[in-house]
């Protein structure tokens, strides 16, 4: 079984290394040019736990509350913020004996998909430093992609785990909404936010998820325990399972002037053949194009609206840099003016506009209706199929200077369909599937809500036949 965690587990169990040694090795491997970290811990901290991840080093996105450890969400308004409480996911990892190496760079307040908007600079792709790794969980992706840690924790509101995983040639898994507690995750858009993980292999994602999942009395949206061990389900037979993909949007013929995309989609077809070799049925399905085109605007509408409200606690009154002024209004105004970048302010203004009484019906509530339409269409398809299989992205990791046409089908659909997993809270995993232009490409599998075990099982079996590492060489 391919598993980075199990490889290290064996070394630890055979006393060939120690947790502290692994911790030091991880820090030594840090390539500062990549800029994966906001904070690297100066001390090995370990609380024993008899689990598979005991003494295994890992990294945590900088929007997850860690008591006594700086947590900035890469925003100036939180640049000196030291939390007084632990997020549930961090607490679980601590209790399981995992060793925190550092807090990772991200797009400011998790808003953005490039890993270039944080207050500590851009995050680079370990495969090619001229390219970005994507975001918002940029540093968490990079820390695994550069083999610094066998797993890391990120958050995913639109595709913030699965897209950077795709660009970095690693596994990114976002389980069902509520499977992992959000308590302590700095809220971006509460109805879309998920905690998830980056790993080298699917088995590692199952191991980590088994540890961090579970009901949390601090999070009313957390699901009841499913009492399943996803790791044990990895080898279940997948024969007879059914997957589908969106027909037109995956057809290379529609993008003849885009060589890279044609290659990605051609490789996707090859991948489908390999998947079929496992006895999995794969069919193409027509999905209403107007719904697919509406994904991105719907996502922006809902997420900006929720984000505006969720970030209203950042006023410099309770914590954070205190603004200047003669009245409380002026003080808060000044703190927020200085504390957020232009991009963030743009989203807040959008969100505020969307929530205004006169616009709510047309913008916010219509977006929620579109979201429901997409989800019910997916649920309808899930009655027949076990999952959706798609290319995670229509491109390889872009160069920093690249700009994309944000109104093209390619951008609107191929770059944004992962958000379907957030709309419905569906478990969704991206796994590397090949190489194009010396950069990794990836496929995504999204399954029925609460069937996290099956999604990991499918991904594990597909990972075996794809043999990405061999292709990578």
């Amino acid at each position: 079984m391919k598993s980075e965690i199990l490889r290290l587990r064996k070394l630890l169990d055979e006393n060939k290394t120690t947790g502290e040694e692994l911790f030091k090795q991880a820090i030594a491997k840090n390539d500062k040019e990549i800029n994966a970290f906001v904070t690297i811990l100066d001390k090995y901290m370990h609380r024993g736990g008899k689990t598979l991840i005991d003494n295994i080093p890992y990294a945590l996105k900088d929007n997850i509350s860690t008591r006594g450890i700086l947590t900035t969400a890469c925003s100036n308004i939180l640049k000196d913020y030291i939390p007084v409480y632990d997020a549930t996911v961090y607490k679980k990892l601590k209790e399981a004996g995992a060793v925190l190496v550092g807090k990772t760079s991200m797009d400011e307040l998790a808003m953005g998909g490039t890993g270039t908007t944080g207050n500590n600079g851009v995050v680079r792709n370990p495969w090619n430093k001229k390219r970005l790794i994507g975001g918002s969980s940029a540093g968490s992706a990079a820390s695994v992609a550069m083999n610094l840690v066998p797993f890391s924790i990120g958050s995913d509101t639109g595709d913030s785990i699965r897209k950077p995983a795709a660009y970095g040639g690693i596994v990114g898994f976002k389980p069902t909404y509520g499977r992992i507690s959000r308590y302590g995750l700095f809220a971006f858009a509460s109805s879309l936010d998920h905690v998830g993980c980056f790993t080298k292999y699917v088995a590692d994602a199952a191991i980590v998820t088994d540890i961090i999942k579970g009901y949390d009395p601090h999070d009313m949206t957390s699901l009841k325990d499913d009492d399943e061990c996803y790791f044990d389900m990895l080898n279940n037979s997948v024969k007879g399972k059914k997957l589908f993909y969106f027909k037109d949007i995956c057809d290379p013929k529609n993008y003849e002037d885009d060589d890279e995309l044609v290659e990605i989609l051609t490789k996707f077809k090859e991948t489908i053949e390999k998947v079929k070799s496992l006895g999995i049925e794969v069919e193409e399905v027509e999905f209403p194009k107007e719904l697919l085109l509406a994904l991105y605007p719907t996502y922006m509408t809902i997420s900006c609206a929720e984000a505006t409200s969720n970030n209203s606690n950042l006023t410099g009154i309770q914590f954070g840099p205190r603004g200047e002024g003669t009245s409380v209004e002026e003080i808060m105004f000044d703190a927020r003016t200085k504390g957020f970048s232009e991009l963030i302010k743009r989203r807040f203004i959008l969100g505020s506009y969307i929530l205004q009484k006169e616009n709510q019906e047309k913008l916010f509530k219509n977006a929620q209706r579109v979201r429901r339409l997409v989800v019910s269409k997916m649920e309808e398809l899930f009655e027949k199929y076990d999952g959706l299989i798609m290319p995670s992205s229509g491109s390889i990791a872009p160069l920093f200077e690249d700009s994309s046409d944000k109104l093209s089908d390619k951008y609107l659909i191929l770059e944004n369909h992962l958000v379907i997993g957030n709309f419905g809270g569906f478990p969704s995993i991206s796994i590397p599937s090949g190489i194009v232009n010396k950069m990794p490409i990836s496929i995504n599998i999204t399954g029925r809500a609460k069937e996290d075990g099956l999604v990991l099982n499918l991904a594990y079996k597909i990972e075996e036949v794809l043999d990405f590492e061999k292709v990578g060489e």
Binding site: N63, I64, S65, T71, A73, L78, Y81, P83, V84, Y85, A87, R182, Y183, G184, L185, F186, A187, S190, S191, P217, H218, D219, M220, T221, A305, E306, T308, S309, N311, S312, N313, L314, T315, I317, Q318, F319, V328, E329, M332, S352, L355, Q356, K357, Q360, F364
Partner: protein, 472 residues
């Protein structure tokens, strides 16, 4: 005479163990910032968890106010920036309030009136601010305390009705045990909307915010009626604005003009999935609603034929009314029960400055003592003495009666024997009787009392003396 139209918005803090959305204690204290968790501070990453005790109490109050309840518990966010609101939004209810379209009956000296309730919703209180010349301090103890807001329709016609409504409402809170409703602790606060008109259309509305005491509500309304009348008399227009009532000068002062209503950008709180309210759940809450004052008062005056004064005294406090009704359930006649409760029980509560529990005498105990007096087994005087002693020593009064042999002796054979003993001992006095001095029978009553340490039934003893003395 212009018509006065008043609407009230009443806030009341609910009595619960913990806050509305966090595990902090909901407890009054003068030490700032001790009942605080990350949730109450609005720190990044916190999530609200709804307190079902608060939900139940809000629903219970809504039911007591004859409101209709929603099909599910759902909260909304009210977004605005202020230093006392750490999250930058308040969790409240707009879409599905806990109660809608209810009413509360008030009893005025000459008439009764239903005050219509527009809605009742559950929300969280803000932190409290202490302002000093150069700075302000924030106390988060109050941040997140469950608060219900009750909004009436504009159907109140004068200050007296407003005050009566508030008093009646407070009694509902206390009767339903949802709040202590102590305005001194800021647990009950009131906003007053008032307008004057001489047509069918509503006049321009003036709002007065956060008035703490009922007497201030009365003064504020009276002042505002006078002020608005004067403005209108001069042919000027009343400005739509928010005014502050100053308790020192007893006047209202303009705070800010209300050009357009603030847009609070309400939307459904995404962190709390709606909780379905089943019929069983609601029925269980409804069962806990006690009979309210109005109903009891009518029963006491009509069915029990108690005076209005006594009835008012009894229903004022639910515990007392319950105690009184328990006595009746132990077969004590209402008038008898009323007399014992209003004298011995209420008197002792005042004197000892305690509550019924602290008084030790249960309604069962009292009913047994009352029955002994009715059967002439103990004198009323002795009964009261026994009750006071029982409160003092915290022992069952019946035990005292038995131990101290306070039960009256009315056994004829015992008394005949004792009377004859006394007659034998004082033959000279018997002679006086024979000489026509009939009053000496009283002397023998005294003698028998002496022998029985006061336990002999005086009535019975006298009867027997009169018979026995004639036989001499």
């Amino acid at each position: 005479m212009r018509k006065v139209v008043i609407g009230l918005e009443v806030h009341c803090e609910l009595k619960t163990v913990t806050k509305n959305f966090s595990a902090s204690k909901n407890e009054y204290t003068s030490i700032p910032n001790i009942h605080v968790t990350p949730v109450d501070l609005g720190l990044p990453g916190i999530l609200p968890v709804v307190n079902m005790e608060a939900v139940k109490k809000a629903l219970k109050t809504a039911m007591a106010l004859n409101c209709t309840n929603p099909d599910e518990v759902l909260f909304d966010r009210k977004n605005y920036y202020y230093p006392d609101l750490p999250k930058g939004y308040q969790i409240t209810q707009v879409t599905k309030p806990m109660g809608k379209n209810g009413y509360l009956k008030i009893v005025m000296p000459d008439y009764e009136k239903d005050i219509l309730i527009h809605q009742l919703h559950l929300e969280e209180d803000t932190a409290s601010l202490d302002h000093y010349p150069a700075y302000s301090l924030i106390d988060y103890n109050r941040s997140g305390i469950p608060l219900i807001e009750i909004v009436t329709e504009p159907c109140i016609s004068n200050a007296l009705e407003a005050v009566k409504f508030l008093e009646t409402l407070r009694d509902v809170f206390i009767y339903c045990e949802v709040s202590e409703a102590d305005s001194k602790k800021g647990q009950m606060r009131c906003d007053v909307n008032i307008s004057l008109t001489d047509s069918d259309k509503l006049g321009t509305k003036v709002e007065m915010k956060n008035i703490n005491s009922f007497s201030s509500v009365k003064a504020a309304i009276e002042y505002e009626i006078k002020r608005q009348n004067e403005v209108l008399d001069k042919g000027e227009k009343v400005i739509q604005e928010t005014r502050r009532f100053d308790e020192e000068t007893m006047k209202t002062y303009s705070m800010r003009e209300k050009v357009d209503a603030v847009d609070y950008k309400y939307f459904i709180e995404p962190n709390m999935p709606p909780v379905k309210l089943t019929k069983e759940f609601l029925d269980d809450i409804r069962k806990e609603i006690p009979r309210l004052q109005y109903e009891r008062y009518h029963q006491y005056t009509n069915e029990y034929e108690l005076s209005e004064y006594d009835s008012n005294v009894l229903v004022k406090d639910k515990d007392i009314a319950d105690y009184f009704e328990e006595l009746i359930s132990y077969d004590i006649k209402p008038k008898e029960a009323c007399s014992w409760v209003t004298t011995v029980i209420l008197g002792s509560l005042n004197k000892l400055n305690t509550d019924l529990e602290g008084l030790f005498i249960t309604s069962k105990m009292l009913s047994e003592v009352i029955k002994l007096t009715l059967d002439n087994k103990i004198s009323v005087g002795n009964a009261k003495k026994v009750l006071y002693r029982a409160m003092d020593e915290k022992v069952d009064p019946i035990e005292i009666i038995e131990k101290e042999h306070l039960r009256q002796i009315d056994d004829e054979s015992v008394l005949v024997k004792l009377v004859n003993e006394a007659l034998d001992e004082h033959e000279d006095i018997v002679l006086q009787f024979k000489e026509g001095k009939e009053y000496v029978t009283n002397y023998f009553v005294g003698q028998v009392m002496k022998k029985t340490k006061g336990q002999a039934s005086p009535v019975k003893t006298l009867e027997i003396i009169k018979e026995e003395i004639k036989k001499r």
